[in-house]
């Protein structure tokens, strides 16, 4: 099953991408996070959240959505 992964804020600069498609079986959100950090080591220092199908989810949840969004904290004001 293909995943559409979108990057928000600073994560677009770290990955060099606005979004991409991923194929593969990741199991949990935590495994998906680890996979993305292996692809883009710069992600490791950011405490980003992962949403699937517009709900922010915890690392122990199964990946069962098709739209994945990576959301970093913002500090600007």
């Amino acid at each position: 099953m293909g995943l559409r992964v979108r990057y928000f804020g600073q994560l677009q600069e770290i990955t060099g991408k606005k979004e991409e498609s991923l194929t593969g079986v990741f199991g949990t959100i935590g495994n998906l996070r680890a996979h993305l950090i292996r692809c883009y080591p710069g992600l490791e220092k950011i405490h980003f959240k992962i949403a699937q199908d517009n709900t922010i989810d915890i690392d122990s949840s199964e990946v069962n959505g098709t739209l994945i969004d990576l959301l970093p904290p913002f500090s600007g004001g």
């Binding site: 220092k45 969004d69 959301l71 004001g77």
Partner: protein, 357 residues
């Protein structure tokens, strides 16, 4: 004369009873910057009964591109005080209090307790976590807004027992991991739009109308008009951990504590400076050739004389640490012309010797 709130009164969702709710409400805006300025402007126009404005910073030229309450005449003056002067002209019925100092873990309980709701218009994680934790402990609603370049985030925390900031981001990022506007730049209108979103949520909460962004993070990208709302759940473990502390504990990421520190190489020796030595009398070296007032902290002397100082006040100690805390205290008392020295007394002593007449 026509009622200034006529357009509110015409709405079924507001009407006279809604306008009365607005008049009876009180809102604290922490940070009178890119987010705070537009939020304050609309809340003042809407007739919020009591508005608090907290900001320790002074207006600088690079603020004028987006911080729309300030004029060129305000350069170098405190933001909270200037904002109050501007807003008072929009609506004299609103009681406005300016707090020209920072929110700290020492004053946050007292300051936030006075208001119904807090708008987070800050630009650093230190204050964001502080507002969040204190609002959680005092059961106050926090309207959050933050941005990165052309993107913004908006949500409402602690609304009717809803999620808090720590449910979204349990722990702050390491210092320097996430840049702020002053480091990366921002298109001026972006905080304007996000700040108005925050004012909108504040008014809806006061009026008890519509759907509130509680448990929902609105992410707006103004370059491509992608607006997405993400649901997020309450995390009782995080909330209980803060509640158990009973008081706020400052986070380690002190990304805002750089404002009132001056380094010796920023000073010209000719400038009139009143040096305040907060060390105890037995600490050495003592400083010669400078206009020094000794003010040992253990003696708990009156701070009254500092109020009318026409000279710039620079506080120093052995390492810079006590000076920093003392300056924060002076600023909380409304004394704005004071800074702490980054270096310690030993470096100052050498500098004074070198710069003597």
């Amino acid at each position: 004369m026509e009622n200034r709130y006529q357009r509110h009164l015409q709405l079924n969702e507001v009407g006279p009873s809604g306008q009365e709710k607005i008049r009876k409400s009180s809102v604290l805006v922490v940070g009178a910057g890119g987010l705070g300025c537009p939020a304050l402007q609309y809340l003042t126009a809407a007739g919020v009964g009591l508005l608090g404005i907290m900001d320790p910073d002074v207006v600088s030229p690079s603020n004028l591109q987006r911080q729309i309450l300030f004029t060129e005449n305000d350069l170098g003056k405190n933001k909270a005080t200037c904002a109050k002067a501007f807003l008072s002209k929009i609506n004299s019925e609103v009681e406005i209090i300016d707090y020209p100092f920072a929110l700290t873990h020492e004053n946050s309980e007292e300051q936030i307790a006075k208001f119904d709701l807090v708008i987070d218009g800050t630009d650093n994680f230190y204050t964001r976590y502080l507002i969040s934790d204190q609002c959680l402990l005092l059961d106050k609603v926090m309207v959050y807004g933050a941005l990165y370049k052309f993107e913004g985030q908006v949500t409402v925390f602690n609304y009717k027992n809803g999620p808090s900031y720590r449910c979204l981001f349990p722990s702050p990022p390491k210092m320097g991991a996430i840049p702020n506007c002053s480091e990366i730049g921002v298109l001026g209108v972006v905080p304007g739009i996000i700040g108005i979103y925050q004012a909108t949520e504040a008014l809806k909460i006061i009026l008890e109308i519509g759907d509130i962004l509680s448990g929902k993070l609105l992410c707006v990208n103004l370059l491509n008009h992608n607006h997405t709302t993400f649901n997020f759940p309450k995390n009782s473990v995080e909330i209980d951990a803060i509640k158990k502390q009973q008081k706020v504990i400052p986070i380690e990421n002190q990304d805002c504590f750089v404002d009132f520190e001056l380094s010796l190489d920023q000073l010209s020796s000719k400038k009139k400076i009143l040096w305040i030595d907060v060390r105890e009398k037995e600490e050495s070296p003592r400083i010669a050739h400078l206009n020094v007032k000794e003010f040992p902290l253990s003696q708990q002397l009156s701070l009254e004389p500092f109020h009318n100082s026409e000279e710039q006040i620079i506080v120093f100690c052995q390492t810079g640490l006590r000076g920093k805390l003392f300056v924060q205290k002076l600023r909380e008392l409304g004394i704005q012309n004071c800074f702490s020295l980054k270096e310690g007394a030993a470096e100052l002593s050498i500098w004074a010797e070198k710069n003597k007449d």
